[in-house]
Symmetry: C2
Subunit: 259 residues, 2 copies
DNA sequence: CAGTGGTCTAGACCACTAG
DNA sequence: TAGTGGTCTAGACCACTGT
């Protein structure tokens, strides 16, 4: 049982990197380690393809138990940043993994891209649920539903036409708030935990009205998305029916293969 | 330390269900339990919203340790079938979670839907990589790349036009095999481990040629997808550039929110 | 307050991969 | 054969939730 066998000097390996955990912190130890590993990968201190070093040695070096170290590593494997091979070791993945697809918010996406997003609320009213909306939200037909219709702009140019239906009483949504930020940010801010969503992405030609609203020629191809979002308990939170200018917008995402 | 405290009789709870593990099996214990829990949920034996019972008691009942039971439960939480709340318990999720988005194969999707998929190989040749393809695959421009162009049919009707580029030498793909099944199934069969993919989904109007191939009017809206697939080691395995008849096809998928 | 999941430890044996 | 990750155990203390 050798305690000290430092084969330091091999650049790109983890042996040369200094990780440390703070036991006084309320942040879980495995999470602290995971963050440091992720940062090292992102900054290139852990080269793609390099081995992480075995778990027992890493645990000993940090004063942690092996299960704790495994938990940290596993969380990064789940993110797609690391790959484990039995009998070989844990390696940093080569390719550029960014994010395994989130419940994307158009507003946030535009803002992140420096596109100066803006919103114009076209319609805002509580209405009885139609059959389609009632089915999507799992509420009785005719029950009260908040219907919001918005035009999303980037750099002053129309990008998308968004229609959302929300079960009445879930939250108090101001029309003014909807002009300032995205719906999902408002939902999260209201303490609603988004859990899953069912999405359908398709395409169709623009109607005359849509063409006018989006400044596209009539019959222009539009990207469509329908989405129902659920919370922890399985309640439907929101049903959206959106169209995007295909000339200006495309969905881009990374996905991981379930092992 | 009570070994037997069966509070049986509460229907819908897990207390009435009989789980058991086989220690002689090569299948991991946590996986056996996860499968049984998943089956019980799928068959409705564990009602949506019902509590699973605490982990210690479940472990005792099965003769397993708590970490093993936790591992089983965690795998179902990751799948979105269960929700854990501290101080409350583990509940079966209400909504219908099907699959958190896979690297979908059009062929498999059509087959699963009973659509009698067929493939017509239009083009099959090794060609020098163009700049676009070289960038997507991470190979030198002008290097050998297998270029495959296919028309996908369902019930004899054209559905999509598929163009794929694969680095030469990765596998021996027969044109005949491509008529019989999907590309991804062939890749997996060749022992290639798919790991992640970067996708872009958009829309545009059909060109004259595409319209003719897909039996759509000229200028009809088409759904487009570009995808680069990577394996474990980060090598690009395949670059696809596809168009789908928007009148016949849409992408539908479920996704989970990263906690 | 009692009960739940969240985290953590210090071991153990096994299956797989490589040289 | 040596080294790796994969699995498993039997405890422990803590944080949070509800009553």
């Amino acid at each position: 049982m050798v305690k000290q066998g430092d084969s330091a000097g091999t650049s790109g390996s983890s042996a040369t990197l200094q990780f440390s955990v703070d036991r006084g912190s309320p942040v879980p130890l495995y999470f602290q380690l995971a963050q440091q590993l992720e940062a090292a990968i992102e900054q290139g201190k852990l080269a793609p393809g390099s081995l992480l070093g075995n778990e027992i040695e890493l645990a000993g070096r940090l004063g942690l138990s092996r299960p704790t170290v495994r938990q940290a590593i596993q969380s990064l494997v789940d993110k797609g940043l690391l790959v484990r091979r039995r009998g070989v070791g844990t390696q940093v993945v080569h390719s550029q993994v960014k994010r395994p697809l989130e419940l994307s918010s158009l507003y946030d996406d535009l803002e992140a891209a420096g596109q100066q997003p803006a919103t114009r609320v076209l319609h805002y009213a509580v209405e009885p649920a139609t059959a389609t909306v009632a089915a999507a939200l799992g509420v009785p037909e005719g029950s009260d539903v908040l219907f919001v219709e918005r035009l999303r702009l980037a750099h002053g140019e129309p990008m998308a036409h968004l229609r959302n239906h929300l079960p009445s009483g879930l939250l108090t949504l101001g029309s003014a708030e909807l002009e300032r930020t995205g719906l999902y940010r408002l939902l999260r801010g209201a303490g609603i935990t988004l859990h899953s969503a069912r999405q359908t992405v398709g395409a169709r030609a623009a109607t005359a009205e849509e063409a006018a609203q989006l400044a596209e020629p009539q019959g222009a191809p539009l990207l469509t998305m329908e989405r129902t979002t659920f919370d922890d308990t399985g309640r439907a939170i929101e049903f959206g029916s959106h169209v995007y200018r295909a000339s200006r917008y495309a969905f881009e995402f990374q996905l991981l293969v379930r092992p």
